[in-house]
Every structure is written in C-alpha cells, then in structure tokens.
C-alpha cells in the first residue's frame, strides 16, 4: 500500500523547515491556519506569521507590499477564497507587481467533499491561468508538495500552488521534480493520459488495468500548469494515438484547455477530457464525488478505450 499523506501537513512542515533557514520567509493566513497547516509555522515563528482574519483581499494586497520590501511571503487560505474572493488583488497587486508572493491554496477541487459546492474550487486554475506571469503548480501527492514549495522560493515572482483536502497516496517512481518539466511516469505508445493532482493516481490505476488488456498507456504528470511543458506533451501527441486529460477542475481554462491548445496548434490528435463540465460541486464523500463527476480510474479506462476505438 502506498503511503497516504495530507498535502497540507507536508506543506506546513516544509514551511517550518524553510523558515529555519530563511529569515525572510513570512506567512499569512486568513483564519484557516489550522486547516491549511500554516499553524505549524505560526507556532514556531510567531513574529513572522500574520493572521488577517476573514479578509482575503486585504491579505493578498498586503502580501504584495511586504514582498516589495524583500520578503518571500507565503499566503494561504482555501483555494476558493484565494483565487476567487481575492482575484482582483491577486491580479492587480500580486501578479502585476510580480514580487515573491507564493499563494499556497488548500481544499481545491471536488475532493473537498462534504462542505459542498461553495467550498469546492473547480475554477481556480482557470482564474490563475488567465493572469499573465502567474506560475502554477498542482502537486500530485505529499512529497511533491514539499518539492514544489522548495522550488518556488528560488524562482522570482508570483506562484499559485494548489493542494487538496484529503489524504492522498504517494505516487511511486515518478522521478525527480523539476519546475516546468512534466513527469512521464509510465512508458507506452498506445494512448497518453495527462493528469495533475490526485488524478495522477487514478490515471496510474487505469493504466495498470489497461495493460492487462494489452493497451500500453503513457501516464504524464503535468504538475506545472504554467509554464507548461509543451515538448513532453507534443512528443506524446506524436508517439501515441490519442490523449486523455484528467483534472479535478472545470475543463475550461485548466489543464485540459492548455494541453488542447498546444496539441491543436502543433499536432492535432484525438483528445478526450475528464473534468468538471458546466456543473457546480455538491456534498458527498470524496470517492462518491469522483464517481458522480466521472473522475475515477474506471472512467479514465473507458475514455482511453474510446480514444483508440
């Protein structure tokens, strides 16, 4: 059994680790520090942690001011509030001025579960991608969360790192993390599955089953949505018969849209997208919801079969 980790736990611990080495790291939260795990940092470095209360807009613009004075500011809250409520502040203050503000948003996607639609950010990647210069990472598991958090510190500018709520299995054998470089996890020349976040694990399960039927699938983890690794995607488009894209996000403006753009412009192949299609989320357990929104490994298998039929 794969190790199960909360990405948020890993994030909280990584912040503490980094905070010890780097005195210029400051952390902001908006009354969700227990859930986002910035509370770990708050406990260790109370003088470098600021709770803004339920005021995300103020928090984002303040992060810009602080970062303009040379600090690296990690800003956390739920994805729906980071990307949605404070979008104008993220666009006009954070991204436009381009200082080291690293937004780490938790509770993204349908897998938030019982809290329901108001708390399930299904359009946050789209909102962030629409903003020029915004770097976007969607780590697929716990260890990758740590790697992403470490990587973003050394790269100048604004970041959006998207984390989920539930524990997620650690994806084995995915190689080392390199910002902007997609990870080819399984080799295969029949069909490509491109996924991010928790969908990577579903994709791997699908690939395993398909292999039993003699279908060889190439699974690619596109953890960095911007800048997108066009080369790895186009190589797959050339070498396989079609692509299935899976994301726990609306199919508009996220991973699916970006991959399709690259493929359509350079090497059109058959593409099928699994994601949220013109629907709000709803309450349920994460696994029930993945089923309800056709985001399980079974759905992926069906899509792969369709692509090669």
């Amino acid at each position: 059994m794969a190790e199960m980790l909360y990405q948020r736990d890993v994030y909280g611990k990584a912040l503490v680790e980094l905070g010890k080495k780097n005195k210029d790291i400051v952390v902001f939260d908006a009354d969700l520090s227990g859930s986002t795990r910035t509370s770990f940092f708050a406990k260790e470095f109370p003088e470098r942690f600021f709770n803004f209360g339920v005021a995300e807009q103020n928090m984002m613009a303040a992060a810009t001011g602080l970062a303009s004075c040379g600090k690296t500011v990690f800003v956390s809250t739920f994805a729906i509030f980071a990307a949605g409520r404070a979008w104008d502040q993220v666009r006009n203050s954070v991204a436009y001025s381009g200082y080291n503000v690293k937004i780490v948003a938790t509770h993204a996607g349908i897998s938030v579960g019982p809290d329901g639609a108001s708390h399930q950010a299904l359009e946050d990647i789209a909102l962030m991608q629409a903003i020029p210069k915004m770097n976007i990472i969607v780590p697929c598991d716990g260890p990758q969360t740590r790697e992403a958090v470490i990587a973003c510190i050394d790269i100048k500018g604004a970041f959006y790192i998207r984390l989920g709520r539930p524990k997620v299995p650690t994806v084995e054998n995915k190689g080392k993390f390199e910002f902007g470089k997609a990870q080819v996890i399984t080799k295969g020349d029949d069909v490509t599955i491109i996924a991010c976040g928790i969908m990577v694990n579903e994709a791997l399960a699908a690939a395993e089953n398909l292999a039993k039927n003699g279908i060889k699938v190439r699974v690619i983890n596109v953890h960095t949505i911007r800048p997108l690794d066009n080369d790895t995607i186009l190589k797959a488009a050339c070498e396989t018969r079609g692509i299935v894209i899976c994301e726990e996000h609306t199919v508009i403006g996220g991973l699916a849209s970006s991959v399709q753009e690259v493929v359509a412009e350079n090497n059109p192949v058959k593409v099928l997208c699994l994601g949220i299609k013109n629907r709000f989320g709803q309450s349920g357990s994460p696994s029930e919801l993945l089923k309800e929104y056709n985001l399980t490994s079974f759905d992926i298998e069906e899509a792969v079969k369709k692509v090669i039929s």
Binding site: A61, T64, G65, S68, C69, N92, S93
Partner: protein, 272 residues
C-alpha cells in the same frame, strides 16, 4: 517650526506641479486632472518636506514608502517624481503613450514606484505590508498612503483599516483626499461616507482633520502623525476637486477628462 519661506517654497512648488499636471494631461489627451489637483498640496508637501527618500537611489532600503492607492491620480505622482529627479521632466510628455515609463495607471516601470495601483481599494493593504516589513526588519521608515474619498467605499479599505489598527502600525500615515466628488457625482449623494472621522476613529486610528490646501496645516499633521505611538494615523484632508484651476474646481466632468489645448492654456495662465 516651519518657516514662512519654507511654506512659500512649497506653495511655489505645488504651483509648478499643477502646471506639469495640466501640460502632461493636455499632451496625453486623456487622464484624471480633478483628483490630481486636489491632492497636489498634500503630496508636494510630502515629497519636498516630509518623505525620507533619494531619487538617485530609488531602492534605498531605509527610504520612507509612499503608495498612491488612488492610482488614477498618477499625473500628480509622476510630476512630483520628475521634480524630485527620479527621471527627466521630458518623460512627462510621454504619459499614456505606447512604451512609456508613465502608464495610464501606476506600475513598476516608473522609477520611484514600487507597487502598481489603479484598481481602487488595495493600496492601504499594500502599505500595511510595507509597514509590517519595517517592523520585522526593525527599521524606522514610515509608510504614507493616499486614498480617495470615493475609493474608501471599497470594502477592502476597511479590511485594511481594521488590520492596520490590529497590528498597531504606527508607522503608517494615510492621507484621505476628501474632495467630495467621485465619478458619478457628489460622494454624499452617490454613497455617503459620513461620519468619516468617526468611522476611522472607531476603527482605532489617530484621526486628524485639516484644510488640505493649507501647507502649514499639512506639515503639522504629518508631524503629529510621526509622534503617535501604537496606532496608525489618518489625515482627513478637506480639499477642492480640481483645485487651482477655477473652471475645473468642483466640476465633475474633470474627474477623468483631460483639458483641451485651449483649456490648458487658460489653466496655465491662472497658474502662472
């Protein structure tokens, strides 16, 4: 004590800034004169008598920060920056042109500007971030922030107001340009703010009210703010929109309309 000749000097400087604003806007053919002119005395006093800064070293870490939250009034900001030596006055004639370092609303390509603005309501938050940096680094620089009266209808401003008081940001001095007008008319008719001073006071701010065109009052308010401990200060400056050019004063149209060539000539005559 400020001397009479310093006041005279600042008044002359303010007149020069107003001239630059008019010329710049007439040349650009668009932009916002009303709120630039109403805040001219305040920001002139700030840049030429109060602010610790060095135009030859715009990134000097210990400099006082100024942020213009009401970004549409950047002609005023550009004029004081040029007059302070951050860039040549000739740059002003490129305002709003393609490739100019002087964009229609402020951004980082202008020497002396640290953070973009233009979307109203965010600047006090930006200033709060700068003030937190000063405290973290144990530096004694101060942070000044210019707000518009229409602007403070934005909810974000009050989130920031609450937070500045909560974090005891006594290195912040906000300046409210209370000219009584916004785009669609009088502030009291569009969305009444009164009682303004009581609101800031209730949010935990040291609150001062002055005539925003009286240099003596302006300087002494900045001075008073420096002495306040444990809370942020706000100068509520009663001003006249379009101040200094009679036909623009209290005329809503000149919020966001540049003077024509003829109007500019007439305005410059009055500002001689």
């Amino acid at each position: 004590m400020v001397e009479e000749k310093d006041i005279k000097h600042l008044e002359e400087k303010a007149k020069q800034i107003r001239r630059l604003i008019i010329e710049m806007l007439a040349k650009a053919g668009s932009g916002h004169p009303g709120g630039s002119l109403s805040a001219t005395d305040l920001i002139t006093a700030l840049y030429f008598s109060v602010l610790k800064h060095n135009s030859k070293d715009p990134k000097w870490p210990d400099r006082d920060r100024f942020h213009m939250s009401k970004g549409h009034c950047c002609p005023l900001w550009y004029a004081v920056l040029a007059e302070s030596g951050y860039f040549s006055v000739d740059e002003l004639w490129t305002l709003r042109q393609l490739g100019s370092i002087l964009q229609g609303h402020p951004d980082r390509r202008t020497p002396g500007i640290d953070v973009a603005s233009g979307s109203l309501g965010q600047g006090l938050s930006v200033s709060l971030g700068m003030s937190l940096a000063a405290k973290l680094d144990k530096k004694d620089y101060r942070v000044y922030c210019l707000l518009g009266d229409g602007e403070i209808q934005e909810g974000n401003v009050w989130e920031a107001a609450m937070a500045c008081a909560h974090f005891k940001s006594d290195n912040i001095c906000a300046i409210l340009d209370y000219n009584g007008f916004q785009i669609d008319g009088k502030v009291c008719e569009v969305m009444n703010l009164e009682p303004v001073a009581a609101k800031w006071k209730a949010f935990g701010w040291h609150t001062m009210e002055i005539d925003g065109h009286n240099m003596k009052e302006i300087l002494s308010a900045f001075d008073e703010a420096k002495k306040v401990k444990g809370k942020p200060s706000i100068i509520i400056a009663h001003t006249v929109k379009g101040k200094g050019v009679t036909f623009m004063e209290n005329v809503c149209d000149f919020h966001g309309r540049a003077p024509t060539k003829d109007e500019a000539e007439k305005a410059l005559k009055e500002l001689e």
